[in-house]
């Protein structure tokens, strides 16, 4: 329904050709430079979770949108909307986390805004970030090519299940951590390794399934995925069964899906596995010449099923 709202009520009003591409960042030229520009608001609940917090998430979200567009993030803005009476200790912990993540991602926060809103106006804290990056090599979601291999940088569904299990008070023997991480150094390594990276996306809200469908539609290709190759932790699979979810649709916050030529796929996979945020990378499928705009999964038992864009409900306040 959010997608419908965006398509029917937003895109019809704002006739920007840049916006209409619906890529992770807006990419444009100013003078001699090609820049990428992106924004995201974060309303995650709980605000502190295993593996991160709303502050880390807000930096990573924007850094990753720029990175998967082929840009090196340079500058960011930070806008806080804080509920009156929000504990200062929590605010400081979030600000520390923002600082540490920005330092790690090597991005400078250059502008900001802070609003304090009376009780009932906002639940705890919302954060908006925007970011500006210099495009190293433009990577669009509309350029995946028939024959490309599809690589995902690690286990899927960790972020969503970390949030949900905390929200529902579920306990696991091995607690599930959010994968929230800045991906710009991994992506920059991938781009250095191959000139034949045709598309990238960070599969956040809506999970891997949504990201794959978006790329299949934007690029006008088919995508075939092998269920047994998609890395899912046992604990995440178990939690998904309990909660009635499909890990393919559960949010990630530190993963990238890469579309690269068949020839370059092995070396890209190898360098990804050598990086801290890509060590569990897997080749999960390939791009086919049809059916266009469709993602098909070869199941474990040898069948085939269509992985739709809109299965199940979107999880609220997951990021």
């Amino acid at each position: 329904m959010t997608r419908q709202l965006i398509e029917r009520d937003i895109l019809t009003r704002f006739r920007s050709l840049i916006l209409r591409r619906l890529d992770d960042s807006a990419v444009f030229r100013i003078g001699d430079l090609k820049l990428a520009y992106s924004t995201d608001s974060f309303v995650v609940d709980p605000i502190f979770f295993r593996g991160g917090d709303i502050g880390k998430l807000a930096v990573c979200g924007t850094v990753n949108d720029l990175a998967v567009s082929g840009a090196q993030p340079v500058y960011m803005t930070l806008s806080l909307i804080v509920e009156e009476g929000f504990p200062m200790a929590d605010l400081r912990r979030i600000l520390d986390s923002i600082r540490d993540t920005a330092t790690k991602a090597d991005v400078e926060i250059v502008a900001g805004d802070t609003k304090v809103v009376g009780a009932g106006g906002v639940d705890k804290i919302f954060i908006n970030t925007s970011g500006l990056g210099i495009v190293i090599r433009e990577v669009s979601g509309s350029n995946a090519r028939v024959g490309d291999k599809v690589i995902v940088s690690g286990f899927v569904g960790d972020h969503g299940i970390a949030i949900l299990s905390q929200r529902e008070g579920l306990d696991f023997k091995v607690p599930i951590c959010s994968d929230c991480a800045p991906l710009n150094s991994l992506v920059s390594l991938i781009l250095k390794t191959s000139e034949e990276v045709h598309a990238m996306r960070d599969p956040t809200r809506g999970g891997l399934a949504t990201a794959l469908n978006e790329i299949a539609i934007q690029s006008g290709v088919g995508i075939r995925i092998y269920e047994e190759s998609v890395p899912v932790r046992d604990e995440v699979r178990g939690a998904c069964e309990m909660l009635g979810l499909d890990p393919m649709y559960v949010a990630n916050e530190g993963k990238v899906v890469v579309f690269v030529s068949s020839e370059d796929a092995p070396k890209v996979l190898e360098v990804m596995r050598g990086h801290e945020h890509g060590k569990d990378s897997q080749l999960i499928g390939e791009v086919t010449d049809g059916p266009r705009g469709t993602v098909i999964m070869k199941t474990r038992i040898g069948g085939e099923r269509i992985v739709d864009m809109l299965t199940g409900e979107q999880l609220p306040r997951i990021c």
Copy 2:
């Protein structure tokens, strides 16, 4: 207190020299270009008011921050946080207003984000905008010079009183309208008219008094203002008396205060008065060599009083 929070908890963490200038926009070079970059979140309540709405406000706020930094706004991002069940008719009205204001300001919305939050998470709708502009001539708040004249582009306090009177259900014979307007064409005209414009600011939250104090502190100068020259509508003055407010501290959303050399002040004032958003411009004072960081007002009855930064309480959710 928000200022204290920003100074003590935010600026101590983010050591960006660009951020620390605390100007209306971050200004930096990328390649051969000088860019301005700014962000603002809008939480105004009510969301529709005489003279505008939260959407118009969100575009104008960012456009004006870029403009008073001496930049021509080019690209914007738009991020919506909407309460579940928010009426679609209201959302469409706000989106129309955003589109119309962006068209008027000649700025392109190139990226966005939309989050829908369950009831209790957010009150109606919050909007964040960020904007990127090309600096035509850098104008900082720290460059006001002794001898400069101070010009304000029209009546002060209209926005704050329009919001408050609606919130409090006050009725006036002549209803007060918000002054919310994009100022980039006015500012561009001012910059074309004089090479000796040394500082500008749009006096929003905290009103004219706060903007003048910020410039006095950043520039290390004194500012002397003549009370009788500050344009305040009779209805705004009356409402302020009723509500126990000082119009000098009440928010504006379509005003600019300009610091220009004494020689160029008359011609700048003249072109401002010829522009639709500057027709009630007034020369209200001048920059003095002391006391540094202090704004002094010559009152109607011939006395002098210090116009502090922090008189009275900040009005919540005024923008």
